[in-house]
C-alpha cells in the first residue's frame, strides 16, 4: 500500500540537468524509484544517468508514461514548470524548489485542486515509501520499511526523527515532507486522511513546528477522523518569542501558533507529544 508514491510511480525529473537534478535522479533510482524521464527545454536527446531527457513534460509523458514529477527548477521558472506538469497530465507534482513567491504557490495549488492533482511542497524534501519509491531529496539511508506513517513540515528534522525510528528497528510506510512555506500543496490533514485509509500504516508520526495554525487544525481533524495512534513532536518549544528561525513557516504568531497552543490542541485530541525528537520512538512503542 503506502501512500502517494509506490512501485507504480513513473517519475519525470524537471530540471534534471542541474546539480541537484543530476544527483537526486540517481539517488531516487538507487532507492528503487522508476525514474523514466528528465526534462530540460533545449536538451532533448541527451541522457542524464542514462535517463532520457525531453524538451517538454508532454513529450516525457507521451513517450514514457510518466505519472509523477519532481521539480528542481529554480524559483523564477518553477511555476511554469509545475503548471506544465499539470497541463501534461501528471498526477503528483513534488516541488523541491525553495523561495517560490507565495502568489505563485497559491496559483499552482489552486490549479492542482481544480484538476485533482496532488502537489507536495514547495520547499519540501519530498516523499519516500521505503522498499517502493522515493521522490525528492530525503537521504535514502535513514529509511526502513514498516508501518509508521510520518508527516512533517521540516526537512532535516524529519531525517532526524525517521532515523531515530529506524535505529529502534521500527520502519515507515511512507514519509511525507510537506514543506514549511506559508502555502503548501498538501497539508497535514491531506496526509492524515491518506494514512488513516492506508492499510500498511498502523501508527502516525506528525512533526510540526511553531508558526501558523496547521498543527491546531490537524489536531481538530485527528480528534474527529483519525483512529490510528498518533505521536507528535513540535519544534520550537524553547524558541524565543518573536524570532524567526529561518523559513517562512517558523514564526511565532500570537495565541495560536505557539508551541504550547499546538501541544495543548494535540494532547486534547489524544496525541502523545514528545518533548525532544529522540523521544518519538519511545512513544511509538
Amino acid at each position: 500500500m503506502a501512500i502517494i508514491v509506490d512501485e507504480k510511480t513513473k517519475l519525470v525529473v524537471q530540471g534534471i540537468t542541474g546539480y541537484q537534478g543530476m544527483y537526486h535522479s540517481q539517488a531516487m533510482r538507487d532507492f528503487g524509484t522508476q525514474v523514466v524521464a528528465g526534462v530540460r527545454p533545449g536538451k532533448a536527446g541527451e541522457r542524464v544517468n542514462d535517463i532520457p531527457v525531453f524538451d517538454s513534460v508532454k513529450d516525457a509523458v507521451d513517450r514514457t508514461g510518466a505519472n509523477t514529477s519532481c521539480v528542481f527548477v529554480p524559483a523564477p521558472g518553477c511555476m511554469d514548470a509545475a503548471l506544465e506538469a499539470i497541463y501534461a497530465g501528471i498526477e503528483t507534482v513534488v516541488i523541491i524548489t525553495e523561495h517560490l513567491p507565495v502568489l505563485d504557490a497559491i496559483h499552482i495549488v489552486s490549479v492542482a485542486r481544480s484538476r485533482g492533482v496532488t502537489v507536495i511542497g514547495p520547499n519540501c524534501p519530498g516523499i519516500a515509501s521505503p522498499g517502493r519509491a522515493k521522490v525528492g531529496i530525503l537521504p535514502s539511508m535513514i529509511f526502513r520499511k514498516g508501518n509508521i506513517g510520518v508527516v512533517s513540515k521540516s526537512g532535516t528534522l524529519t531525517y532526524e526523527i525517521v532515523n531515530a525510528i529506524s535505529e529502534r528497528k521500527m520502519g515507515q510506510s511512507t514519509c511525507v515532507g510537506i514543506g514549511g512555506d506559508r502555502v503548501s500543496g498538501t497539508n497535514f490533514i491531506d496526509v492524515l486522511d491518506r494514512f488513516q485509509a492506508d492499510r500498511q500504516t498502523k501508527k502516525i508520526v506528525l512533526v510540526g513546528e511553531i508558526g501558523g495554525t496547521s498543527e491546531e487544525e490537524a489536531a481538530e481533524y485527528i480528534k474527529n477522523n483519525v483512529t490510528k495512534p498518533v505521536v507528535a513532536y513540535i519544534a520550537g518549544r524553547t524558541a524565543p518569542p518573536g524570532k524567526r528561525m529561518g523559513h517562512a513557516g517558523a514564526i511565532i504568531a500570537r495565541g495560536r501558533g505557539t508551541a504550547e497552543s499546538k501541544i495543548r490542541a494535540l494532547e486534547a485530541a489524544g496525541v502523545k507529544v514528545a518533548k525532544i525528537p529522540t523521544d518519538v520512538p519511545d512513544l511509538l512503542k
Partner: protein, 412 residues
C-alpha cells in the same frame, strides 16, 4: 460573517506586523532615498510614504503630500497638514510622532520635534507632510495571505483606526479571494456591503478593493493594509495610512524594490551574505545546525539538559561543507562558551564535512570546546577526524545536547 474565525485574522495580521526588527536602535542608513527596510526574516516593509506612492500608482486615492528629512526642506504646503514620523512601528501618534500644522513655521516646528524622535526603539529619519483630512469615518481594510485557505484574503471592519487585534470578532469581515475565481467586482461589493456604506461611498470602497488586489498581485505584496481608510466630510474615500510588505522571494521580478537596505549587525550581514540564518539569544552555547526545524529541535534538546543557546546559525537544509566551514568561522566571531555543531547530512559524506570544520578551526586557532555531531554516510570516519582534533564527538542529538549543556555549565 462571511469567511471564518477571527483568531485567524489575529494570526495573519500579527504575523505580518510582529516580524522582528531586533531590539537595537536603527543604525544610520547610507542609501537615500530610503523606502523602507528589509527585516531579518526577509520581509520588505515599505515606509508609509512609499506605500502611499505605490497605492497612488495603482489608483488608490491618497492625500497630497511630500517627505522631508530636514525641516528646512519644507518650502510650501498643500494646505493644513499632518506631520507624520516615518517609522516601521505602530503607536506613532501616542509617542508624539504625528502632529498637525496649519502653516510653514508650524510645520517646520513639528518636523524638528519629530525628526530624531525615538519611537519604541526606532529613530525617525524622515517625516511625511500631507494634507489634513476632514475625517467622518475610519475603516480598516487590508488584503494578505491566508495560509490555511491557501489564498489571498480581504479583511475589513467599520471599526478602523485601531489595531485589528483589538476589534471584536463580529465586527471584522474575512473574505477569501478564491484563486480559481480571482478578483471579481462582487468581492468589492461584499466588502462595502459589510461596512454598510451609502451607495456613493460603497462604490468608492469597492473600487479601492479592486485596486488593492491589483496592487498586491502586480507588486507581489504579502500585505497591503489601509488603516484608516478615511471617509471625508465631502464623501471622498482616501487612504489615511498605508502599510505594504513585499514578498522578498519575488524580488527577481521586481528589480525596483531590490535596493532596500537591511537593518543588520555586521555579523548578521556576513551571515546573510552566506545565506545563513543568524539569531542572537541570551545563553552561552553557540549552535550550528542545518534546517530550521532541526535547529529548533537542537535548542529544545539543549534546554532539556539545562543549557542555553546564545546564538544559533541555521544553514538551511544543506550539508554543503563550504557552508559548514563558513558557519564555524562566523561562530568563532560570536565567541560562545561552547559550540554545538549538529549536522544531519543528506548528500555530503561526513568526513568531507568534518574536513571543512577542521580547516575552520585551524584558520581561526579556535580554543572553544566543540561538541560535534555529524550524521550520515561515513559517519565513523568523520567522527574519528573530529576526535583526533580535540573535539567532543557525539552520536545522537540528545547526547550532543547533553554534552554541550554540561560543558556550558562548567565553572572556569
Amino acid at each position: 460573517m462571511i469567511g471564518g474565525r477571527v483568531d485567524k485574522a489575529f494570526d495573519i495580521a500579527s504575523e505580518m506586523r510582529n516580524a522582528p526588527y531586533g531590539k537595537s536602535v536603527r543604525r544610520e542608513c547610507l542609501n537615500s532615498p530610503v523606502w523602507g527596510y528589509q527585516d531579518k526574516s526577509g520581509h520588505m516593509k515599505l515606509f508609509e510614504y512609499k506605500a502611499k506612492e505605490v497605492m497612488k500608482r495603482h489608483g488608490i486615492p491618497v492625500p497630497d503630500g511630500f517627505v522631508v528629512s530636514k525641516p528646512d526642506e519644507i518650502k510650501s504646503l498643500p494646505g493644513p497638514v499632518m506631520v507624520k514620523a516615518q517609522v516601521l512601528i505602530g503607536g506613532r501618534g501616542k509617542a508624539g510622532g504625528i502632529k498637525p500644522a496649519d502653516n510653514i513655521p508650524e510645520a517646520k516646528k513639528a518636523a524638528s520635534a519629530i525628526l530624531g524622535l525615538n519611537i519604541r526603539g526606532y529613530i525617525t529619519k524622515q517625516v511625511l507632510l500631507e494634507r489634513r483630512l476632514d475625517v467622518v469615518k475610519e475603516i480598516y481594510l487590508s488584503i494578505t495571505i491566508d495560509r490555511s485557505r491557501r489564498s489571498l484574503i480581504f479583511m475589513a471592519s467599520a471599526a478602523g483606526g485601531m489595531d485589528i487585534e483589538s476589534v471584536p470578532e463580529n465586527q471584522i469581515l474575512m473574505l477569501p479571494v478564491d484563486p480559481a475565481i480571482g478578483y471579481q467586482p462582487f468581492v468589492g461589493r461584499y466588502v462595502s456591503g459589510f461596512l454598510k456604506l451609502p451607495p456613493d461611498q460603497a462604490e468608492q470602497v469597492a473600487d479601492v478593493c479592486a485596486k488593492l488586489h491589483e496592487l498586491v498581485v502586480a507588486e507581489d505584496a504579502e500585505l497591503a493594509e489601509i488603516n484608516p481608510l478615511v471617509i471625508t466630510k465631502d464623501g471622498k474615500v482616501v487612504a489615511g495610512d498605508a502599510k505594504i510588505t513585499i514578498d522578498s522571494d519575488a524580488l527577481f521580478r521586481h528589480k525596483d524594490f531590490e535596493s532596500l537596505p537591511e537593518d543588520l549587525t555586521p555579523l548578521e550581514q556576513k551571515a546573510k551574505a552566506l545565506d545563513i540564518a543568524f539569531v542572537q539569544l541570551d545563553g552561552n552555547i553557540g549552535v550550528i545546525a542545518n534546517g530550521a526545524g532541526l535547529t529548533m529541535a537542537t535548542l529544545d534538546s539543549i534546554n532539556m539538559y539545562g543549557g542555553k543557546a546564545g546564538v544559533f546559525l541555521d544553514l538551511g537544509g544543506t550539508d554543503d561543507p563550504e557552508k559548514v566551514k563558513s558557519a564555524m568561522l562566523l561562530m568563532s566571531e560570536a565567541n560562545p562558551r561552547v559550540i554545538l555543531l549538529n549536522i544531519f547530512g543528506g548528500i555530503t559524506k561526513c568526513d568531507t564535512v568534518a574536513k571543512g570544520v577542521l580547516e575552520a578551526i585551524e584558520a581561526k586557532r579556535m580554543r572553544i570546546p566543540i561538541v560535534a555531531r555529524i550524521k550520515g554516510v561515513n559517519e565513523e570516519a568523520g567522527r574519528a577526524m573530529l576526535k583526533s582534533a580535540g573535539m567532543i564527538p557525539a552520536y545522537g542529538l540528545s547526547e550532543a545536547a547533553e554534552l554541550a549543556s554540561k560543558e556550558s555549565l562548567k565553572v572556569v
